[in-house]
Symmetry: C2
Subunit: 368 residues, 2 copies
């Protein structure tokens, strides 16, 4: 069996490393020529995606057929990111299935469409306006509000906080397009749920995870999340099941949520393996990467049961693999990427007695 | 960091797959031109070892220097098998450390020397004679006895059972050389201990494992072994610690033992990761492969604690990866080798409630 992945980053790397033991072969589509390929170098065939037609209407059919052959005629194709050219996926879908489907990726790719999907399924999300004047939006939402580009945002990029009338006027003068203005939610904390579904409709969930962001970038996660009632957990799983079923979803999906008292509000969906699920590599019987591959391959899903309280710390801008910091109860995952400030270059997973012990280990590591 | 491994088989494959996540790069020495390279294809540089000098005295120094460069100038070299040409390792040792050391590999490579090492450390092993006439040997050992080639034996190859005088006479007429004649041991069962030591002398053990062989080939393992007293377990660990310390050993070592009542008798040592430790990939927090790499790299060893009762079933001669047999609580490891009767082509690890449940799963699988 051969699986092709769109993207050459660390998620593709970890998917391949989880799938190679099963005898599955991988190939990778470099869909952005500025993209670093080091993460997946040596793990399979790497092919650049062809140029779009000059009129931007799509791709040359022959070039796509050639790409499919050059990828080794994969049995299916998946993605490591939602910001993928849908026309490329649609063109490739003639040759083999795309998992999750192009429709599912499309639904999570655009913040406006994602909000509509959530509304349709009666899943709470923060109030928002699409392409509205900021001055108009704040009449309903009040200050502050957050402006987010519908398609370009990740790791806190392309987001602006509007705190007052001056900010709102300034934004309106920019002539921006394809954005949402979201009400500011005074949440207690951020959690996420990583779940998956296979072709037969089997759904499994990982433990809810506490996530700590700084400057819009995930710094660390700890699972299971603390102070979450059974009811809230079931609520999160229920929302996820509605989404996965509605989208006839195949693979791993992540759902980022704000916790407000006993209620959840969905902040964002990711139709792929997710940074807040990296802890599963050490803390669960089967990690999110292997389970994504199992789902694509039509296999039974692996046990998602957690074996110990686990933390994940992103290594951001760390220049060398921090071998010396490894202990009996921690593991290192290094991405082989060129070093750059604020770039995720690896992560460490820790297991420990309880969440407090994990927090202390993380604080200790961060102070090194 | 780069590590080179002598050998291109499944153990090299699994070592590389366990080390790649740490950002370590691998290269492989194909020391036997008849050897299949498919297991490690794509996981790193593969280089053939140079030819020996015509007078068999060793290797051309320049060819070895070239090999070392072609391997990417590794930081250290390890082996996936004990039957390695020691002259090749000695020649390479000029450029970087060999772990475990050439002396340690030598000590486990030759059955006669292995017996001497065990005797020196006061570790029990079955009575034997080296290069003795079978007719003479049986006067002391009685019938039956087992004749084993000192260097060529694995998976039950190059072993002969001598049941009576006719067999003994026939053997003596063969003019065999470099063999041992071992007393037949009426053991209760076969177990193994897989342990490891790093450069700082830290030693860790995995659980004792029950092993079931057929025709000299390991069919399945279950860990932890049943009906083993704490005293017996401590005895096994004590023997292992004596061995690892005596050899100033770095890496994973496996010790196969016969259990006779409360006593252990050492059958064989393997200076490498071992088939009876494959269950650790699913059943332990850190598997034997990652821990071997950690030991070589001078890192803290990972936790060897067992997370669930685990079984390992070798897939012998199975033509295709048995994807359909995978369940929530099992994982597949496929080696990408050419199919051949009686060849190990992959394995499955299972976790379960208890040893009985695992035995049933294995029986169920074997009957498919």
């Amino acid at each position: 069996m051969r699986i092709a992945i769109v993207g050459c980053g660390q998620l593709s790397r970890m998917l391949a490393l989880a799938g190679l033991p099963l005898g599955i072969q991988f190939s990778f589509i470099q869909d952005d020529i500025s993209q670093n390929r080091d993460c997946v170098e040596g793990l399979g065939i790497i092919q650049k995606s062809p140029m779009k037609l000059e009129d931007n209407s799509g791709y040359d059919a022959q070039a796509i057929a050639q790409l499919y052959q050059d990828l080794g005629a994969p049995d299916c194709i998946t993605v490591e990111k939602e910001q993928v050219d849908l026309a490329l996926l649609q063109a490739l879908a003639i040759f083999c299935p795309i998992y999750p489907s192009v429709e599912a990726i499309k639904g999570c790719q655009h913040r406006g469409q994602e909000k509509q999907l959530l509304a349709k399924l009666n899943i709470p999300t923060s109030p928002y306006f699409y392409n509205q004047s900021a001055l108009e939006a704040v009449k309903v939402l009040g200050y502050p509000v957050m402006v987010k580009s519908c398609t370009e945002g990740y790791d806190g990029k392309n987001q602006w906080l509007i705190k007052n009338q001056a900010d709102a006027e300034q934004f309106d003068q920019l002539g921006a397009d394809d954005y949402i203005i979201e009400a500011f939610v005074a949440f207690d904390k951020e959690i996420s749920l990583v779940s998956l579904r296979n072709k037969r409709g089997q759904i499994e969930h990982y433990s809810l995870t506490d996530n700590h962001h700084e400057q819009g970038i995930l710094r660390h996660s700890i699972a299971p999340a603390v102070n979450i009632s059974d009811a809230t957990q079931l609520q999160a799983q229920g929302y996820m099941e509605r989404l996965l079923t509605e989208l006839d979803y195949v693979g791993v999906m992540a759902m980022e949520c704000f916790v407000i008292g006993e209620e959840l509000m969905i902040n964002e969906l990711a139709p792929r393996v997710h940074n807040s699920g990296h802890w599963t590599q050490l803390g669960s019987i089967t990690c999110q990467f292997e389970n994504h591959i199992r789902a694509l391959a039509g296999l039974n899903l692996g046990n998602t049961k957690q074996i110990a309280v686990t933390g994940m710390l992103n290594l951001i801008g760390t220049e060398q693999p921090p071998f010396d910091a490894l202990t009996e109860n921690s593991k290192l995952y290094w991405y082989n990427k060129a070093v750059k400030a604020q770039r995720k270059l690896g992560h460490i997973n820790f297991i420990g007695e309880n969440q407090q012990a994990i927090r202390e280990k993380i604080a200790q590591f961060e102070s090194l």
